[in-house]
Amino acid sequence: MFWSIIAANKRKTVLLIAAMGLFLVLLGAAIGVFVAGDYHPYAGFAGAGIAALVWAVMLLASLYASDSVLLSISNAHQVDRDTYPQLYNLVEEMVIAGSLPAMPKVYVVDDPAPNAFAMGKSPKDSHICVTAGLLAVCGRDELQGVVAHELGHIMNRDLLYMTVAATMLGSMLLISDVFLRSFRYSTMRYTSRSRRSSGKGAVVILIVSLVLAILAPILARILYFSISRKREYLADATSARLTRYPEGLASALEKIGGSTEKLVAARSVTAPFYIVNPTKQSLHDSVFATHPPLSARIKVLRSMAGGAGYLDYMKAYIQVTRKRQALIPAADLKGAGKVEIRAANAAGPAAGLTAAESRRRAGDIMRAVNKFAFVTCQCGLEIKLPPEYAGDTVSCPRCKRVHSVIRPGAKATGAVLSASAAMNASAAVRPESVAQDYSGPGHAGVQQEKLNPGKWQTITCHACGRPYEISPSFGSRKLVCSGCGSLILFSPASEAVHHKRG
């Protein structure tokens, strides 16, 4: 734990709230004087009062409602152990590794662009969100790296600061926008008046308030963005240590950065929350970048030669960025033990997934989250039934075979397991493997299998143990386990070869 960083984060949050409050009150006063100063002597105070009120409302909103607002902007659907065990269990593993006091709520965001973010005011009440696109392209090691990075933000108390800063930034933009509007409206009135009234004094007030209004959002942005950059490196360091496998996050960042999908749900105000800035893919370092350049973050992670601990990250960080200033205060590094880098789990999906393929995978993950039922017909046609579909059976439009519909429903894994055991006694159901479904090799969002075209193949569902015989003429890219509803994806053997390794 970075105790001094946590303490500094808390201090900075209070300071930021106070500084922004003061700034808003000054801005409000300036606007008041400018707009109505000639008619009402107390206009400045009124303006300050209104600004203070806006500030207070924004502050309360940022403390009590921001999570739900930001989550709803982002199209997030909550999942739990029953609805999405692969992801939930992986988060839980990392929560245990980082000894967080409580399990964060886990969400899948309906978006084909790969990305992730976390939210929350304290480690006891936090949210972690990954997009369907991320689940589609990442293997288990990569997803683990991303999840651990987000937990790093939660552990380092970055999120309260970021939430407050985001809301404050929003309110500043709002107030200065109102001001600039009123300025446009009143310039004509002002020039006709300037000859008879206070002259110089009014001009000074005008200039000062204009400068304030223009500077406010810029200042707020620089302050807010420059701080969130260092946090990204720190969260990367935490991720490396928790996963003991820096390459996982490095490879995930590469996939996220290389994606051509544009995040639909992202707004500039929510941008700093994401693991990779969703609004602009800037390769160069700029003052306005919320995130350090991706290439540098990946390089640091890949330069961690000696181990996965904080000291190793620090060494790599200094070597890559050539920055002298300490990323992690010396006090926090005391007692940071040696952490060995672990071996890789099986490789994730190929790096060379086409945009169309990863989009389709993301779509299926979203359907699974939204409780669609999946039926794979023996003829190779895949049928996806929305939860509103009323029938208990569906007939394949291609070959007219009739299939019974197994709904993912609220009962999910445990209950379906027994139901399926009763329904199909021939399926080898191994209850003990349910607990390990997430530790199966190479799958994160979904189970991955290589397809050998033209050959018979036996595969087993990692979640419930049901075996499948895949016929040589199997035409589909995926199979939905009729025992538990888990998604199993097939990639042709040739595709998986192109997997990039650092």
Binding site: A356, R360, G363, L385, P397
Partner: protein, 135 residues
């Protein structure tokens, strides 16, 4: 999503990386705008979209299954013989058989020697029972 024609629930079908929404009752097909572009790009038949012309149809107006707004009537195909419903934001609705006709029209123009009309073949693969396959 509900069928614009008969209000039944649409189901999604996937075959060989093509995804369509299908009404089990009236056998109409909904294509998301992105999905249509994908289909056409794959076949080099993007010219098809160029043949779409808006028209004031007498046929009953239907509503988009995604946004529930009234869809526009358009004419497609070289001789403008196929009447389709389009939501500019979300996609296209094809009554039973119309998708096949449209794709056949769209691909006939670009067919060169050796180039198989694989779109229509694919639709055949989706809807023609395995036993009746002539290949």
């Amino acid at each position: 999503m509900k069928c614009p024609q008969c209000s039944d629930i649409l189901i999604t079908l996937e075959f060989d990386r093509i995804e369509i929404d299908y009404c089990p009752r009236c056998e109409g097909v909904w294509l998301d705008s992105g999905e249509l572009a994908l289909l056409l790009a794959r076949e080099g038949g993007s010219a098809l979209v160029g043949t779409f012309r808006p028209v004031s149809g007498k046929e009953r107006k239907r509503t988009c299954p995604i946004c529930s707004r009234a869809m526009k009537k358009i004419l497609a195909g070289g001789n403008g013989s196929i009447l389709l419903d389009e939501c500019p934001d979300h996609g296209l609705w094809f009554d039973r058989g119309e998708l096949k006709k449209t794709l056949a029209a769209g691909c006939s123009g670009i067919r060169e020697e050796g180039r198989e009309d694989s779109l229509t073949r694919l639709l055949d693969e989706i809807f023609v029972p395995c036993g009746e396959e002539s290949r």
